[in-house]
Symmetry: C2
Subunit: 144 residues, 2 copies
Amino acid sequence: MNEVIQAEWVGNMSFESEIDGYQLHFDAEEQFGGTLRGYRPKPVVLSALAACTGMDVVSILGKKKVKFSTFKINVTGGISEGYPKYYKKIHLVYQFTGPGFQDDEEIRTKVNRAVRLSRDQYCAVSAMLKNSCEITDEIILMDS
Amino acid sequence: MNEVIQAEWVGNMSFESEIDGYQLHFDAEEQFGGTLRGYRPKPVVLSALAACTGMDVVSILGKKKVKFSTFKINVTGGISEGYPKYYKKIHLVYQFTGPGFQDDEEIRTKVNRAVRLSRDQYCAVSAMLKNSCEITDEIILMDS
């Protein structure tokens, strides 16, 4: 099965793309000739990574009947020296709040397992990045 | 230098992220428990790849004084068998129109060189994908 997308140059450093009817407008920073009236392409990859693994984890925790109050993923991309300037190291912090989460070892085990399953088996964006980028993660559980 | 982004779970399979003040709303397809009211994370990577290499090529061709009328990049992601279902093969088609472009060997040489430079030296998104995904490309020049 193939996925086909298009990006069209719309002047200066701007590109317009569309996925399932939703537009993505990309632009470069002023130092690179753009006007920053849109997404920079590189950090968009970090957002896509967070959303991709986040969806896996939500799905797996749903099957394990783990109910959380909030869930955020912080992603830090450490940029390489020289060119191309890509994220050589990516660190994901999975942060959950839920009732009694902080000291609940059963919840911790289930969350750990969900993050591992995403990383090793399901997350397509991780799979595409992990041979170029060193991806590490940590889990933070807090009471809500 | 680090780039830091966050994605926040906003219910069901939806995640909200933000880059430079521009929001990205992600969602999954219905078959995966979502409502598809946002970007699917995986094709977003293809759009980011197209925009990233597209900006390189625009910048390099600007320095080479190549003036084109339109520029589109078609990206096809061939999805792998089994899990994770990532793009094992990615094919980029760089399509330009410009006056007399179709048979202009000098333009073709410059466009070829710009695409090569992006692929091999500048494009950060390509650099992050190319060790997991086989990335190929072709160039189409047409008269405008």
